[in-house]
């Protein structure tokens, strides 16, 4: 979503590109091959894995955007706690939880969680990374423009941030 922070340049960008599958146009599946895929968020459940596979399958270039995608981010703080403990805390033992049944949700429609949250580049090949929480809008802009104009993607010092 920090893509939206590039503000009015979004309009310029729209002139250069078509959005295929994104929260901006709310299209849920790919309609064909795509040049650039942007990925936000870490990979924490089965469905995320499939989305990453889809992206890798359809996009020539994949860019991971933001600390969650590049290193797991806050959700990865669960990584050194066994999954069972996490779920019990979330659904049974947590101080604000009211769950008289004492069961964790077990609906087959709910995607299964992975043992830990993975940075996306540990799941599929990622071509470029834009870390930051969120990444500076300028970083996204510069990277996209560089790619669209066939220039090397390099972040100037001020735009490489992990926070």
């Amino acid at each position: 979503m920090s893509l939206l922070d590039i503000d009015d340049r979004l309009l310029k960008l729209v002139e250069l590109i078509d959005f295929d599958k994104s929260p901006i146009d709310d299209i849920k599946s790919f309609s064909g091959p795509v040049d650039i895929g942007l990925i936000e968020g870490g990979c924490s459940n089965e469905e995320n894995v499939h989305v990453l596979q889809e992206f890798r399958k359809h996009c020539k270039i994949l860019i991971s955007i933001g600390d969650c995608a590049t290193m797991g981010g806050i959700p990865a703080m669960r990584n050194n706690i066994p999954l069972k403990e996490c779920l019990d805390e979330a659904y049974i033992n947590g101080p604000s939880v009211h769950n008289p049944g004492g069961l964790t949700p077990n609906d087959p429609d709910i995607p299964l969680l992975l043992n830990k949250v993975f940075p996306v580049h540990e799941v599929v090949k990622i071509d470029y990374h834009l870390p930051g929480c969120p990444p500076p809008a300028d970083a996204i802009w510069e990277a996209l423009v560089a790619l669209l104009t066939d220039k090397p993607v390099t972040l100037p010092y001020e735009l490489l941030k992990y926070d």
């Binding site: 990453l52 889809e54 066994p82 999954l83 992975l114 799941v123 599929v124």
Partner: protein, 599 residues
């Protein structure tokens, strides 16, 4: 903690002069008495020796024979070295576990017996082996394991467990061990007959500078692994300024597959002490320290006896052998389970009562070593050679071996061969000749110089044992064509991960990362690029690590990548789908699937 326990700790500290320099002895004694070093015990030690608590904890937590939690009166440490695994230590382990009703790292409910794993205890030629406190049990079978447990349970003392006696001094009442020497091939330098005092007499007839010159003429180089010229090392120490100087003999012998120093200590301790005394004379030292690995505690009383005999014969003490002004004595410093303490500066740290972290160099030990004073550190075998050089002459010594590698070398051969044991061969002997002597029927790979050395392929079996070609501290492990070599590599990496001191980044983290990727490859989750990844990572660890451990720890991987590349290539495959080969969805979902099913 009750009063009696407190008093016991206080007493141990005062017995060692309440001196924090004696921390190793204090901690070992407390461990033996209380079965662990934690909580208030640390405070009492700290107070007694006037050290910060955290410093005591720092040392205690470093050594694997010192425990931060309670252990039983008897600790059974089963060796999990690759050789023991080849000799099916897993079955023995299962028998121990079953009989005791506990897993590894656990203590029986009555608090009596603890079961642990330990890396190579220097008994690879008689594997599987275990330490029961400081008793060594070799060639274990499941029946033995059951008998040992039954005896202990029936209240028998650990040092009275029934066993046969080994050969030579192993059968001496002060050793009383079932260990055998397996001296398969005695040579002229180490295992020839020896008259105590003969070499020393010649040395004392010369000036120290002349003794050093003899070492140079003999072209003696260190037998501990690095091959540094001994004469030069002694000369540096001789000329260095210091209030006092020290001679330390490195009997840590921790490199897996090495057990030749154990046999020297058993059968030629006199020769070794003579070498130390000569070194003391040459460098101007009055004090020698034998740093003996904790695993060899069973040899301690025997070594003390020989030291006593030498004192009585005037070969140690004041005015050694009547030489006015040359005083020299030797004490034994016990280690407590840390491979890194074989590295000479870590060894010095340990002698000083510190954690076994290597020290920054420069200054080198010859300039500032033990207690900041000039110190010679030499391997057991090196010092024996020195004694023999003084006895028989430099020219006599250098007639053996090659130009760059004079003398003989002790090899400890183990693994897939019919005659494992110790061989004293001339430098220049080909590996293939060694394999023949050891009756290795189907050698497919030979690990030369332990995990830190090189995995040699059959095409290179005609290489020669020498400093310029196949250098080795002594370890020769033979693997036949049925062995899973990459599994062995993985074991070696685990060894380095466990034994890294953790001081520097590349070794502390890099070895873990190397092992992670190796495991992926072994489980079929590797792609061809992973071989480059291993190569690059291995080189960084080698280049950037601070001491010899990290500088050699990637060798199991790097040398197999070079010499057995086909084994890796057979396992890796280019990723087919979108997912990276190293990402395994099934295992990533294992916990969630388990939970979903149970609920």
């Amino acid at each position: 903690m009750n009063k009696a326990t407190k008093a016991a700790v206080t007493e141990i500290c005062s017995q060692y002069g309440n001196d924090r320099g004696n921390m190793m002895d204090i901690l070992r004694a407390v461990q033996e008495r209380l079965g662990g070093i934690y909580g208030e015990t640390i405070d009492i030690i700290a107070e007694s020796v006037s050290a910060p608590r955290v410093e005591v904890e720092s040392t205690a937590s470093f050594y694997s024979f010192l425990s931060g939690k309670p252990t039983g009166e008897v600790v059974i440490r089963l060796c999990n070295d690759v050789i023991d695994k080849m000799y099916r230590v897993d079955r023995v382990a299962a028998a121990f576990s079953e009989e005791l009703g506990i897993g590894f790292g656990e203590t029986t409910a009555d608090g009596k017996i603890t079961l642990e794993w330990t890396p190579c205890i220097g008994m690879c030629d008689q594997a599987p082996a275990a330490l029961v406190n400081d008793e060594v049990m070799t060639r274990l079978s499941t029946d033995h394991a059951r008998d040992i447990v039954a005896s202990l349970k029936s209240g028998r003392e650990y040092y009275k467990l029934p066993h046969e006696l080994g050969d030579g001094n192993n059968a001496h009442k002060l050793v009383h061990s079932m260990v055998v020497n397996h001296i398969r091939r005695p040579g002229a330098v180490i295992f020839a007959d020896f008259q105590p005092g003969a070499g020393l007499a010649n040395a004392l007839g010369m000036t120290p500078v002349e003794v050093i010159r003899c070492m140079k003429i003999a072209r003696l180089r260190g037998r501990g692994g690095a091959g540094f010229p001994t004469g030069l090392k002694w000369e540096f120490t001789h000329t260095a300024d210091g209030e006092r100087k020290f001679v330390i003999c490195n009997a840590d012998e921790g490199e897996p597959g090495t057990f030749k120093d154990r046999v020297i200590l058993t059968e030629r301790a006199d020769l070794l002490f003579e070498g130390m005394t000569i070194a003391g004379y040459a460098v101007g030292s009055d004090a020698g320290v034998l740093y003996l690995r904790g695993e060899y505690t069973y040899l301690r009383r025997h070594l003390e006896r020989i030291l006593g005999e030498r004192r009585e014969a005037g070969l140690l003490g004041e005015n050694v052998r009547g030489k006015k002004g040359f005083d020299f004595d030797i004490r034994i410093q016990m280690g407590a389970g840390a491979y890194i303490c074989g590295e000479e500066t870590a060894l010095i740290s340990s002698c000083e009562g510190l954690r076994g972290d290597p020290k920054n160099r420069p200054p080198f030990p010859a300039q500032k070593g033990f207690l900041g004073e000039p110190t010679v550190v030499n391997n057991v075998e090196t010092l024996c050679c020195a004694a023999r050089i003084m006895e028989k002459g430099a020219a006599w010594f250098s007639q053996f071996g090659t130009k760059g590698s004079a003398g003989t070398k002790l090899l400890s051969v183990c693994g897939d061969c019919d005659r494992p044991g110790v061989y004293e061969v001339n430098f220049g002997t080909k590996l293939s000749e060694v394999l023949e002597m050891a009756e290795a029927a189907d050698p497919a790979a030979v690990q030369v110089s332990g995990p830190s050395g090189e995995m040699v392929a059959p095409g290179d079996f005609d290489r020669a044992i020498s400093f310029d070609d196949l250098a080795t501290g002594g370890s020769i492990m033979v693997f036949n064509s049925k062995r899973d070599l990459l599994g062995i590599v993985a074991e070696f990496m685990d060894f380095f991960i466990d034994e890294s001191c953790g001081y520097c980044t590349p070794c502390r983290v890099g070895n873990v990362l190397l092992k992670e990727r190796l495991d992926k490859i072994r489980s079929g989750q590797g792609c061809p690029e992973d071989l480059d990844y291993l190569q690059a990572l291995g080189e960084t660890v080698k280049t950037a690590s601070r001491c010899g451990l990290g500088q050699t720890s990637p060798n199991p991987i790097l040398t197999t990548l070079a010499n057995f590349r086909q084994l890796y290539e057979a396992l890796v495959k280019p990723a087919t789908g979108e997912l990276l080969a190293t990402f395994d969805l099934e295992s990533a979902l294992s916990e969630a699937k388990a939970i979903a099913q149970h609920d």
